[in-house]
Amino acid sequence: MRARARLLAVKPDPPTVERSSAEAKLVATERRLRRERLARREAETIAERATRVLYDKQQELVLLEAVVLASNESATVGDALQGAVTAVCAHTTWPVGHAYLRDTASGDLVPTSSWHVPESDQFEAFRGMTEQLTFAAGIGLPGRVLATGTAAWITDVAIDANFLRQDLGVRGAFAFPIRADGEIAAVLEFFTASAVAPDSSLLEVTDQIGRQLGRVVERIRAQEQVVHQATHDGLTGLANRLVFRDRLELVLARAERSGSFAALLFLDLDRFKAINDTLGHSAGDQLLRDVSGRLKAALRATDTLARFADEEFTVARFGGDEFVVLCEGLAAEGDAVRVAQRIQRALLRPFVLGRYEHLVTASIGIALASAEHGDAESLLRDADVAMYRAKERGPGLWEVFDERIRNRALERVRIEQALQKALEAGELLLHYQPIVALGDGTLDSVEALVRWQHPERGLIPPEKIIPIAEESALILEVGEWTLRAACEQASGWRRRFGDRAPLPVSVNVSARQLAQAELPAMIRRVLGETGLAAADLAIEITETALIEDSSVPAATLRELKALGLKIVLDDFGMGYSSLSHLQQFPIDVLKVDRSFVAQLGTEADDGAIVRAIAAMAGALGLEVVAEGVETPEQAAQALALGCGWAQGFHFARPVPPAEMESLIGSPGGRVTRLPQRSSP
């Protein structure tokens, strides 16, 4: 106070003059001066206030403009939030801003990467803490905003009981909500290093920012939904083929650089069609959703082995019951198999569809990305091929694609193309195998078997042709050709041999043909065109064809039966159909599978299976044919066990029509033992 004391010391004494008119004038002038000064100060105060309001409004406009600009330029919600955080920090000159997004599942606020922090590490600890926290309604500053739906201001967080991130360098704080589609979608929070009293005009602006950003969030969400719908499977939410292909190409390029392994798993549910057909499409859809959920869970679960740490998976649905899994970052090629096993384990638990539990397995084909598998297309194809190979071996298995499979696939494609040409060039022909009445050894009927007279390879048997044809639509053409040729032949024999003709002629019909709704119409047409009576035709179907698809064939078979032809169940005993299952089908004849017949007469077999089949067939009023009879002992046993008819090399191999005719023409027509001779 030294200076003050000295200053006071020099304060001049008040003047001591007598009151006079001059003095009165002076007093009046001083009063006038005071009035003027007061008026000036008031004018200045008004002007200052107006200047401040104007300044604030201008700044608010600048802020709003910045927010609008940033949000218009934003392609993602994250960009829009970041733009707003930056603009608010620039406006307030507060150093820290951050945006939370509302998690749609939990409803909590989760931290995002939208931050504004100074370059120095002054608020690093605060940021680190914030990034570890999620806030439920009512908890902390963001939770308060979420609970009340309005902005909140904390003058000093250090003396606020409901502020969690204490002693991390922030003091003044405020936060406000962003609403989209009627709900809080995000919360923005801002901090400064010192305590600051609430600023009501700022809170008003944040209200406008919240509305603006809300509209942006709604717009971007709508866009994202459109994009999501275009890139994801609507049923399961998994990526679709489009996205998966992109991802696959990216991963292949990356795997090449990183030296880690990538693998593609192709999954196909076993018996999906049966479930879909018997339980209905909604149950089928439910199963696909459940399977997708199990896949995601199985691939998300971190394996206890550390080597899985770098693995990443992309799951997609290609349509139907086809799923694909892309594995990247595998440490070794064998890990792809482990992934397949993990998936198959995840499917072991039964699926509850409707009121019952169902066991569902998947066949998995695995293709490993390697130098030769540079492109996505061939990797997808190979995984697909391996999957089919796995399925062929049985349900619930996996198969790794390798060169052998590739060659087999290539071979198959070659045969398929050649078979197509063969059909056009008339290289297919039919041989006929006699079916003999075991009681008296007479020729009873024949089975028509397709042969391919290949110009270079010679005669190719049906076992090589049919499986390949069955995988493509060729089976329909081959099937129709076979039926027509057999009917023509049978019609000719009926005219030529009358009652001695070995009819009906049995023609094999595949599962795929059976699934064709127009099959009965086609058969009726062929019968009409060839002049063959329906009673002279039998169609043979395999037991597995009935199991694979239970609803369609029953109706089709009844329609065929109504035409007047016989229905033969081929290879019986190989499927797992129960008696009650078979009863729904109008079957006339059972053919006991050759594997049971082959065991007859051996020491291990007492003929129980064949006897049981024959007894069962008898109870159902079905005829029984023993297939693959190769020895006199087997023929005798088959007869003894209750089979009325037999077919096999013991009696005759399949023979060309001319040979068949000489057999028909032979005196007595007995076929006790035909000369063993190989086909030309």
Partner: protein, 178 residues
């Protein structure tokens, strides 16, 4: 310099030394003394008034600035309580200079050319850097003393660096106690 600072000087001189003293300062400086708070006036005018006060009051010009700052602070506290109320210590208040107080000054007086501060907290207290072409660190010193009085604290100030002595910035070492 903004007219509001001239007004402040006028108001405090008139309050403590009488209006005649203010007239005497204007006469000695050769200035007409018509300053409105929102107007801007040459820095030179203010320097001349401070030097005239130093002459008439027979004290160093820096002491005039310390006195001005110390007595200006209660005026500020009365006019802008919202800047003071959130704080319970001088240091917490002082740390808001760059981020809160001066931005507020600019809102009231567009174009105000406020000094730049930097702060370093250490064990003994707060080192406050000051940088302004006006080199009015003494005014800042007075305001700091006034702020300490406002918060009921004792403040000792040492000044290891000063622009007037040729340093590129002033540093005020502040030590607070209750």
């Amino acid at each position: 310099m903004k007219g509001v600072v001239f007004n402040l000087l006028e108001r405090l001189v008139a309050r403590d030394f009488g209006e005649d003293t203010w007239d005497a300062l204007l006469d000695a400086s050769g200035l007409d003394g018509a300053y409105t708070s929102l107007g801007s006036y040459p820095d030179e005018d203010f320097v001349r008034l401070v030097h005239a006060a130093a002459d008439i009051l027979a004290m160093p010009a820096d002491d005039v600035l310390v006195w001005l700052g110390r007595n200006a602070l209660p005026v500020f506290a009365e006019h802008y309580p919202q800047l003071f109320e959130p704080h319970h210590s001088t240091q917490s208040f002082v740390l808001t200079l760059n981020d809160i107080i001066h931005p507020e000054v600019r809102k009231l007086y567009p174009g105000a050319d406020v000094p730049e501060f930097d702060f370093r907290l250490h064990e003994q207290g707060l080192a406050m850097g000051y940088r302004s072409p006006r080199k009015m660190c003494s005014f800042a010193e007075g305001l700091l003393l006034g702020a300490a009085e406002h918060y009921g604290e004792r403040l000792t100030i040492e000044q290891p660096l000063c622009m007037k002595r040729g340093d590129d910035r002033c540093v005020l070492e502040l030590a607070f106690s209750r």
